[in-house]
Subunit: 329 residues, 2 copies
DNA sequence: AATTAGCACTTTTTATTGACAAGTGCTAAA
DNA sequence: TTTAGCACTTGTCAATAAAAAGTGCTAATT
């Protein structure tokens, strides 16, 4: 357990370092704490022993370690209310009744990304939570057509397919068959339902049933399991820990492109705001991800803010809280 | 007009510099050309006077200028056939009859991006070339619904909208009205047609006609004028001219995000392969864009490869030619 | 008239040095 | 328990020097 003073010192170091990425020395702190620098040095040494602080070299000031940030977030941080101006900007978006929820979220995250210089992400629910609402087929020319898949949460996916020697009528019948028999099924399970419930039926009256079945089967199989929207990809370049390190940038960008890894954001089922610091983020040692789930009517998903480990935790958590409240209302 | 030898020297310098971004000195060339370095120096000075070469500092070797690359591309470059292995990889994609054209293109451009470490782009036709094929509305819950717009070229756009106190029946009628009266209109012009042809009609039998009209009006007004797919965004980071210059990276990434600027790729109507070097690319002085239009049946668009000015022109042009051929077949 | 050898001159790159600033750890005194 | 004091480390910055790469020009050569 840390003493009062140690808490104070750790908090000061974390907040100073977040403001400006310069290791914090004992001298500045001694002034603030009204004790000698030697005392501060002793305390800092203890905090380092506990693994909460680090040095960049033998005679440098201290920098928070990953555990230090963790401790700060869990025990020391005081949530920061959003300032009036920022709040006002967001309220304009939230008050706009015309917008669909997804647009509201996207626009507000765009604003947050611009205010903070962090990258933001919206994830729709995963495919096993999405139910097939309806499919539509729009013929484009003799051979090709577009298949549209709409889920109960309003997510849309489409795919062009080619079919030879299949009549419009046969397609229409199959489509309404699917809409009647399979709508309401989780997207995940549609492929198998197609096989066992649709394939046998269309086998009877569609000449090229094999081809037709295959086309639909693939459409659902390729259904990307996630609806991902990343806002402010390049904001990462504004952060000093990345702007001088192309390898890091490459790594982070590749992880963002690679949707699989974004799923790691959605791992746990906690409904509160969660903070993944450094290594925990699974993206990069210097990256922190702060996320929360949201639910509004039948729409649900996750919003996340991705920034450097040296992130303004108090501010971002405050913002996410505000976002979540407004979305759910 | 350049002499035989000057052509040779310019070609050598460009190709050497493309292989490795090190200014080329007279010594290396003298060995290849079997003449003294002094002779080469004289020729290089002439080429510099003509604006085809540049120095990075008073006593450095030479580097191609923008005009130098231009001259190389227009006069000196010998197209390079793709190697068998690369060709084979692409053939697998092109031979796959199952795939819709857009998927074929995306997959093959992914391969090309990986082979070359350049960014690739597919642009669909612009909105004034796209005709409205059909719209569909799928209700999600009492208030919200998804509007789907399909164009004659199979491009799909969707948008969630909210409507209060509008019956399903009213919506259905309006939708079929639009499909009957406006299908076939260029997307660009749909908004105005809605106003003059649909609004007056629904005004008669839809209670909340103002609201309904507004919703559809916005859907078409927000229609993003372009279908853009960027593959291998981060490949730019592999190029030495960018990997040490965060400002450049930022600039290029922002230009890519900003769809307007991609339109500049589509500016001219030339059907051949076009090369935009450096400043001409409108993206960055150190960027080259090589693009071509393609047309297959009623689908058409543009594919482009974006790389450093120091791009392997002979290889990329060869690849684009091959792509174009295969797409159009 | 074209080519080449030779050399002075520039600029970049790299390493070395020294001085200074920032900060620590430890010891001994308060 | 706190603090003053001091030796010690490390990083940063500027100055200097030497080496490497390459040029332009002049004068000699082919």
């Amino acid at each position: 357990m840390l003493t009062e003073r140690q808490n104070k010192i750790l908090k000061l170091i974390v907040e100073r370092y977040i403001k400006e990425p310069i290791p914090v020395g004992s001298k500045v702190l001694s002034k603030i704490l009204k004790c000698s620098s030697a005392t501060v040095r002793n305390e800092m040494a203890s905090l380092e022993d506990m693994g909460l602080l680090e040095k960049t070299h033998t005679s440098s000031g201290r920098v928070p370690s990953e555990a230090g940030y963790r401790y700060y977030v869990d025990n020391l941080m005081e949530l920061k209310k959003m300032n009036a101006e920022d709040m006002f900007k967001l309220q304009i978006v939230f008050k706009n009744q015309q917008l669909a929820l997804s647009d509201t979220i996207n626009q507000s995250l765009q604003i947050i990304s611009d205010m903070t210089n962090y990258t933001t992400v919206v994830l729709g629910g995963s495919s096993h939570e999405n139910l097939l609402k309806q499919i539509e087929v729009v013929p484009i020319d003799e051979e090709s057509m577009v298949v549209l898949i709409v889920t109960d949460k309003g997510h849309v996916e489409h795919k062009s397919i080619k079919l030879k020697d299949v009549s419009t009528d046969e397609i229409k019948k199959t489509v309404s068959l699917i809409n009647n028999l399979i709508a309401g099924t989780p997207i995940d399970e549609v492929s198998s339902k197609l096989e066992f419930e649709i394939k046998p039926i269309i086998g009877n009256y569609v000449k090229q049933h094999e081809q037709l079945y295959n086309a639909f089967y693939h459409v659902f199989n390729d259904y990307s399991s996630h609806d991902v929207n990343i806002v402010g990809r390049t904001k990462m370049l504004e952060q000093p820990e990345f702007s001088n390190n192309v390898e890091k940038i490459k790594n982070v960008f590749n992880k963002l492109e690679n949707k699989e890894l974004l799923n790691s954001i959605e791992q746990d089922d906690d409904n509160n705001i969660k903070v993944y610091i450094g290594e925990e983020s699974k993206i990069d040692d210097d990256v922190t991800v702060i996320k929360t789930k949201f639910k509004n009517g039948n729409e649900e998903g996750t919003i996340a803010i991705i920034g450097p480990k040296r992130m303004e935790y108090d501010r971002v958590v405050g913002m996410l809280e505000y976002m979540k409240e407004n979305i759910e209302r």
